[in-house]
Each structure stands twice: as C-alpha cells, then as structure tokens.
C-alpha cells in the first residue's frame, strides 16, 4: 500500500509535467512507430456487405501490439522514481516482450512472470524476452496462466518493494494502475478520433475491441466515452462456449468481486474462489476485467458480446484472406464480432476495430488447432 501511494503520487506529478509528456510523445513516435494507421479495410467491408470498416493498426507498433504504448509510459515513470529493477506479468507474452524491450532500452534489470501453460503455448515470445535480456520466471501455481503470473509478480513486488517497479500491463490491478494504463493506452483512441474525422468527416458509429483485462479496449474507447452517438462493443473470449464454463468472459459470465486489488466482474464460484478460465488467446485468459470497463457496462455505455475459440480461428483466416493481415488471436475475437455486426449496419455507417496485435506469435497455436504441424 505505501508503494501504491508512492506510485500514485509519482504518476500524478508526471502527468502534469510537460517534460514527461514530451519525452513520452517522442518515444511513442520514434521508438514505437506511432502514429499507427487507421486503415480502411475495403475488401473486408465488401465481403461483409454492410458498414465501412476501419482497422486501427496497433499490430504495426514496435513489438507487434498495443502493449508498448503503456510500457513506454511506465518505464519513463519508473526511471523518474529511481527504480532499478522492473517486474511484470504476462499472458500471451506481448506485454512481457514490450516490458523486456523498454527495460533493455534503458538498461534496467527485468524479470517477467509467466504461467507454465502460457510458456508452453507462447514459446516464441518466451524466446524473444530472453533475447532481450529478461529473466522469465515460470509460474507453476494455480491455473498456470495470467492470473497466477500476476499473483507471483505481486508476491515479488511486496518482497522487493524498495527497489522494484511493478509494470502492470492491463487496466486491472490496484489503483492507480487501471487509470494509468488507460491514460497511456488512450493514445490509440485519440489518434483514431483525429484519423476518422479526416477520413469520414464525422465520428464513427461503432468501436469494437477485444477484452481480456481491457487495456486495448479502454485505450480505444476512452476518448469517445463522452460521445453518446458512438456505440462501443467489447468482445470477450467465449472459449469453448459460454455454456461450457470453459471461457474467460468475466463480464458476461462473472459476478462482482475483488481480484488483485480492484472491484470488478470476476469469474468465481459461489464461495468466492476464483475460477479457472479458458481461451485459446492467452492474452484474454484472465478471470477479471478492468474496474472502469465494469462501470461502463453497468452504466450501459459499453455493450459486451463474446466470440468462441472457433470463431476467432475463422476470423484469423478471414482477415488474412480478405486483407492480407494476420491478426493476433486476441484481436481476432473483435474481427469475429464484426463479422456478425457489420452486415446489419447501413453502408454509410462506419466501424473502427482495434487490431491490437499481429498474429505471428500465434502461428504454432493456430497450426495445432487446425491440425497442421509447423
């Protein structure tokens, strides 16, 4: 708790400091490659025969996903706070890679916690992290996925709190993380807003993003929250189907609870034990969801739907064949939802999908799923 207070104070100072903002902007531009394009997906639009579909190309960021937006912001903060050691949790490995990347850039010691199951299904990202000089700590407790990695990172943090900065990758965890990660990811929505106004001359009709913890979703949505005409759709991971219980849809299938220091929708049993989750997308395989997204759902501001493992796999193939873009399994959930949504919208409407990451890391998983050895 004193560590959180220290972090809250440091972040409050940094966000008001113009030199911090300048540094952040410079790094987002020169190092992460922002701004990312808002791409009009013409063949996808035609194939679905409805609204005009735009893809916010976060997959083109350095390291291959939106995760770098947040790690750049937090590493600058960690440096201001004089912390020498960086720890992080990771599910799909994208946040781990993005953390190891910025730690390497600043010459900071870096340890990444990752569940044993995720280490097995994201071996490529594990290798990338090691190449970047990070130590990957394999977590064998609990369900051996993202939540357990987060448990272990929290244990490390309370033990080494004096010299260590815990770089959380999602809009989850204790305050101020959900707020801070949302702020750093909001660059996605701010750019998209400018870009769509230029392209269409008006705001979009609908925004779509996949939701695990919710960082790419909050990043795109937040700058539009006060625009009542812009609909927002979060897509959760239905895994093998919501009815099977083997999914990671915290909002659609969970109840209010407290996990990792924030109150939100949580997948849990009747006595408050956290449930095991399943999604083919390791980055969505988390039993909680950001508290602000939970709030936006309760206010009716954001609607939620889900996509299954099967639908996500189909969406990868579909986008690859129509647009020549291979999305990450996580982002493919958003594509899958739009396959159902777009045909029902008029042709003069526009939809922005957050293409939060690229699919390179998932090729082995997808190959296995389709029975193709790679």
């Amino acid at each position: 708790m004193p560590a959180l207070t220290e972090l809250e104070r440091a972040y409050a100072q940094a966000r008001r400091d113009s030199s911090f903002r300048k540094e952040l902007q410079r790094d987002l531009h020169q190092y992460a490659g922002r701004e990312t394009p808002l791409y009009f997906a013409e063949r996808l639009t035609k194939a679905l025969g409805g609204s005009r579909i735009y893809l916010k190309r976060e997959d083109l960021c350095h390291t291959g996903a939106h995760k770098i937006n947040n790690t750049i912001g937090q590493i600058l903060l960690a440096r201001r706070m004089g912390k020498k050691r960086i720890i992080a949790e990771t599910g799909a490995g994208q946040h781990g890679v993005a953390t190891a990347t910025v730690a390497a850039r600043f010459g900071l010691e870096c340890e990444i916690y990752m569940g044993k199951e995720d280490v097995a299904r994201q071996s490529l990202n594990v290798f990338r992290m090691k190449l970047l000089g990070a130590t990957v700590r394999v977590v064998e407790s609990g369900s051996q996925t993202l939540k357990d990695a987060m448990n272990e990172a929290l244990r490390d943090w309370v033990t080494n709190v004096r010299n260590t900065y815990y770089l959380i990758g999602s809009v989850a965890g204790p305050h101020p993380y959900p707020l801070m990660v949302r702020d750093f990811q909001s660059v996605i929505g701010r750019e998209a807003r400018r870009q769509i106004l230029k392209a269409e001359g008006r705001l979009p009709d609908c925004l779509v993003a996949c939701v695990g913890g919710g960082s790419n979703c909050m990043g795109l949505f937040y700058p539009f929250v006060r625009e009542p005409k812009v609909k927002m759709l979060g897509v959760e991971a239905a895994g093998r189907g919501l009815r099977t219980g083997q999914h990671a849809a915290s909002i659609l299938g969970g109840e209010v609870g407290v996990l990792h220091g924030s109150k939100s929708y949580v997948l849990q049993d009747r006595s408050g034990q956290i449930r095991q989750t399943h999604s083919i997308a390791a980055g969505l395989d988390y039993p909680g969801v950001g508290p602000e997204l939970s709030y936006l759902r309760d206010r009716g501001r954001v609607q939620f739907v889900s996509a299954t493992d099967d639908e996500a796999i189909d969406a990868i193939k579909f986008l690859a064949e129509t647009e020549g873009i291979i999305p990450a399994l996580e982002s493919a959930h958003a594509i899958a939802a739009v396959k159902g949504l777009a045909p029902r919208l008029a042709k003069n409407r526009s939809v922005i999908i957050n293409l939060s990451g690229r699919g390179d890391k998932d090729m082995i998983t997808v190959g296995d799923y389709l029975g193709v050895g790679i």
């Binding site: 448990n151 990792h260 220091g261 849990q268």
Partner: protein
Amino acid sequence: MNRIGIKFAELKKRGEAALIPFVTAGDPDLATTLKILQALEAGGADCIELGIPFSDPTADGPVIQRSSERALKDGLSLPRVLRLVRKFRQTSQIPIVLFGYFNPFFRYGLREFCRAAARVGADGILCVDLPPEESAELKRWTDAEGLDLVFLLSPTSGPNRVRLVAKKGRGFIYYVSVTGVTGARRALADDLRAQVARVRQATSLPIGVGFGISTPKQAAWIASFADAAVVGSALVERIEKAKGSAEKARRAGAFVSELKRAMEQVARKKKS
C-alpha cells in the same frame, strides 16, 4: 472485552507473550483440522489464527499456497469453515481469529459473514488484502458484532499508516516482520525490536509479530519485546509432512509446546 482482549490482559499480568499458531482450515480436511486445533490448544497456544483458504493467496509463500490448494481440492467453502469453528468452540474457549482474503468474505456478504462469524464463536477477523483505508464497510459490521478487526503493519508502513492502524485496529496489531510473503526465514531483521518500539509509541494495543518465525529461538526472541508471536508456515509445513490425521495433530501440538516453552523461559527471565 472479548476473548482476545481478556487473553492479552491475562498474559500481560504474567509478563508473558502470546503464542498464536496459524493453520489453514480444511488442510487436508476439516476433521483433521479439528483435531489439530485441539492439539494446538493442548500444546499451549494462546490464540489461534484459522486460515480461510483462497484460490489466489497473493500474500502467502509456497507452503501456505500449497496448503490452500489442498484445502480447496474438495470444494471447501466459508460456511463449512464456520461450522468447524462452531464445533471446536463447543469444547474450547481459546480466542480465534479468522484469517483470509477479501473476495470470499465479500461474496458471502460482509454483514452476514460477520454475523455468522460472531455466532459460531470467532473473536476476530484479519483480512490480509484489505487495506485500512478501504475497511470502513467491513469494520462497521465487525464493530456491530463485537469482533476485533486486526490490521497489518510492515517495515514499509510510514507514520501515517501506523497512526491509522492504531486508530482503526482492534484486538492487536499484526506486525509483519519482513517485507514479503508468509514463510520461514533463516534470519529475522536485526532492527525488529526497534521497529516494534516505533509502533508501540503510537498504540496501546498489543503487538504481535509474524511472517518468518520458524524456530523456538526466534519465538523466544520475539517474546522478549513483542506481545505475541505468530507462527504459520513452519507449523503448516510440519502438518504437511506428517502422515495421517492423528500424526498431523500430534506433531502440530508438539511443535507448539516447544515454541511455548521457549517463550515462557523468556518470561521467567524477565521476572527474575
């Protein structure tokens, strides 16, 4: 004053510190836990911390993580733990603190939980992942039911935090001896005595020290300047290693009496 207050007052008169063993309820099953609780009391425990297992015990080291996993294997729930307390209470007046994580309490309903806990004969609640700043709602119901809400302080707690816990805490203050999670440590911090003295200036509540205490020698040292020593992982590990229900209880009782003897010797030295 409830059982916790009475016990600390009694011990103070005798110049002794309390020994508070921790065990996880339902590890490996509730029938065994009942036997263990009885053995702990017979061995000389002054108060018991009964751990309520949680799927994601972020404040715990590997030993208590494993014990929670064993307890949860056959679907242990909070109502069953409460029934165990009721059963144990029929034959014992030892103070009991329920030690757990927020989500199971929250899911049960904070008011209902406090009511049920008081009804079955628990005396205090320690919610390890609930900071005092966020405790108003739980405290409302623990106060209403006459339960002590126990808070933690650690070496990183600043003066404001110490004052807050001194003001809001009831029963005793649990001082975490090291930054980190539960589990045996080879060595305790050298300045622990000074740290406890620092907290003592802010409160008249008894101060218990826990996290990392694993040997009679360490417990005796703690007893020389604090009001209680909490021993968890070292005990849970002995229970884990012993085979069979009776043997687990026997070893738990034997370990506790070893710890208690070492602590009593310190008390006698203090007197003479």
